[in-house]
Amino acid sequence: MMGRTIFIDPGRCIGCQACVSACRECDSHRGKSMIHLDYTDEGSSVASLPTVCMHCEDPVAPCAEVCPADAILVTADGVVQQADTTRCIGCANCVNACPFGVPKIDLQAKLQMKCNLCYDRTAYGLAPMCATVCPTGALFYGTLEELQAERPGVQVADTFVFGESEVRTGVAMVVPADRVQWPVPGGLPVVEINGKDVRR
């Protein structure tokens, strides 16, 4: 079962950008935020969603698997690190293969960057920057037991469905109690791909 990790609850997100600002303070990419805060239906809804790296476990970090330069390291504790600066060739394979839309790329510097789960902090038992500042608890860092102690009855899912594949992740999402371990949809209600209707 999951150890200490981030639990995301988009239902609690108020789009305040505190996590984005805090992320800039993380040492591994000082000055640049690796959090994406998206307003999913701008204009007609205030719904917003923070995206951090989900630290995919199975298949192991698709970003690392498609990397032609072996640049993405997965540490023994399951944290998927941003690209090794000496190896990354800036090809953006990881950017376009990540089903969650996480990595960023600097095309000038030929360098990928992404959320490292604040490795400089979590490796020493501290919570990531984003989770320490989130005012509503949309980003929570701790164990499942700690989350449930604060929010009785809450359940989480760490499995997402993308097409024919399920991706199990190290970071989990909060789901309603009656949806225990319900695989979370990966989105893409695609109408067609290459001219072919792919709706079921």
């Binding site: 970090a61 072996d70 376009n96 969650f100 600097d106 949809p185």
Partner: protein, 386 residues
């Protein structure tokens, strides 16, 4: 400093962390659940890749030994004092060929290799962009412009190390292989001859500028490498971004090795010029040990990026030739350009090779992927919680 590795895979095996992704999974360095998945995903039995890699290593090292024997005119010109260096270069050749084969056996790298060369020899390249390749080699391999975009100081330090090491290798490798010889009729002064493979290339006076440069080429290289490596070492101890996730064997050892090599090299010159050879023996051994260690370390640690970096040129050329034909692929939802059409198709192929059943997602830009996932979550999972 760490001991020279006994066997090729030693340095990374002893790392507390593992580099996963298909390449690692296929060369047996992996631990934990990652290896099985990555190996399965790669669709390759690790043992066969290892065997192929070992074979490539043996072939390349045998070729190098042949080149040494022939180039030194059947060892006539071979300096036996340099034997350890020559042996280390044979190990280096084995290691590079081995790691290279393992590396390009993984789906992502294998496809990049074929696409890169394919673009080079494609009609579009010859027709529309014949100068693209030389330009890209100069930008990405020679002057490393992308490093300037990361930081000017890092660029400058890296250029010093890069050109210093190139200079040092151009001098030492042929010397240790017995390819270069310097002969003189008169002992010192005029009449020095430089020969390659026994053929006279250059005659010079050892006392003039050219002669001085010829004999101090390695000192010049050391003077370039020391400030560069020292800057990176300082940065590794001070820069909080660099410290995050840094590993001693991977990040510090190569810098320390470069510094030890350069400093002992300079001290050797100092000893012979000013100390009448005082301490020379000891320095020579220290110098040799550090060089041999570094040569063997190259394929298995941080320095492997030297071998991998040309892939950047292949990738850029592949994208560039795609753009020449206006084959830009736009996100299916928001129509922002993602990359070239052939690139997206190639990435989807890599994802299929890896059994990642969501390669269709590559046709959407990262933001659309996030937004679609967010909407699906809010409308399907938390619909009762609006």
């Amino acid at each position: 400093m760490t001991e020279p590795p006994e066997e090729p895979a030693a340095p990374e095996q002893s790392d507390p962390v593992t580099r996963t992704g298909a390449p690692a999974g296929t060369d047996g360095r992996n631990q934990g659940p990652a290896s099985a998945v990555a190996a399965k995903a790669a669709g390759i039995v690790p043992r066969s890749v290892n065997a192929r890699a070992a074979l490539a290593g043996v072939v390349v090292s045998v070729l190098l030994i042949l080149a040494i024997v022939l180039g030194s005119r059947l060892l006539h010109n071979f300096d036996s004092a340099l034997l350890p260096y020559a042996v280390a270069t044979v190990f280096l050749a084995f290691g590079v060929a081995y790691r290279y084969t393992v590396w390009i056996s993984a789906p992502g790298a294998r496809r990049l290799l074929t696409r890169g060369w394919g673009s080079l020899f494609s009609a579009e390249n010859f027709r529309k962009a014949p100068t693209a390749l030389p330009k890209m080699i100069a930008t990405y391999l020679g002057f490393q412009k992308f490093l300037g975009a990361r930081s000017h100081a890092r660029w400058a330090a890296h250029q010093l190390i890069f050109w210093g090491c190139i200079l040092a290798s151009l001098i030492t490798f042929p010397l240790t292989w017995g390819w270069f010889t310097f002969t003189s009729g008169s002992g010192s002064g005029p009449g020095y001859e430089m020969r390659i493979w026994g053929f006279k290339i250059l005659g010079f006076d050892s006392l003039n500028i050219l002669g001085w440069l010829m004999f101090h080429g390695l000192d010049i290289a050391a003077v370039m490498v020391i400030p560069g490596a020292a800057y990176f070492l300082w940065r590794r101890m001070k820069d909080r971004g660099a410290i995050t996730g840094q590993r001693f064997a991977y990040d510090m050892v190569p810098l320390l090795a470069l510094i030890v090599i350069s400093v002992t090299g300079l001290l050797l010159t100092f000893s012979s010029l000013f100390l009448h050879g005082g301490g020379y023996q000891f320095l020579a051994i220290l110098h040799m040990v550090s060089v041999v260690f570094t040569l063997i370390y190259i394929p298995f640690g941080k320095f492997f990026h030297i071998v991998q970096r040309p892939a950047a040129v292949g990738m850029q050329l592949f994208k560039y030739t795609g753009r020449q034909d206006d084959q830009v692929f736009a996100c299916r939802r928001c129509e922002e350009p993602i990359d070239t059409g052939p690139y997206v198709e190639n990435l989807r192929g890599t994802m299929r090779d890896l059994d990642l059943g969501f390669d269709a997602w590559a046709e959407y830009c990262p933001r659309c992927k996030r937004v679609l996932r967010g909407s699906a979550y809010l409308s399907q999972v938390k619909k009762g919680f609006k």
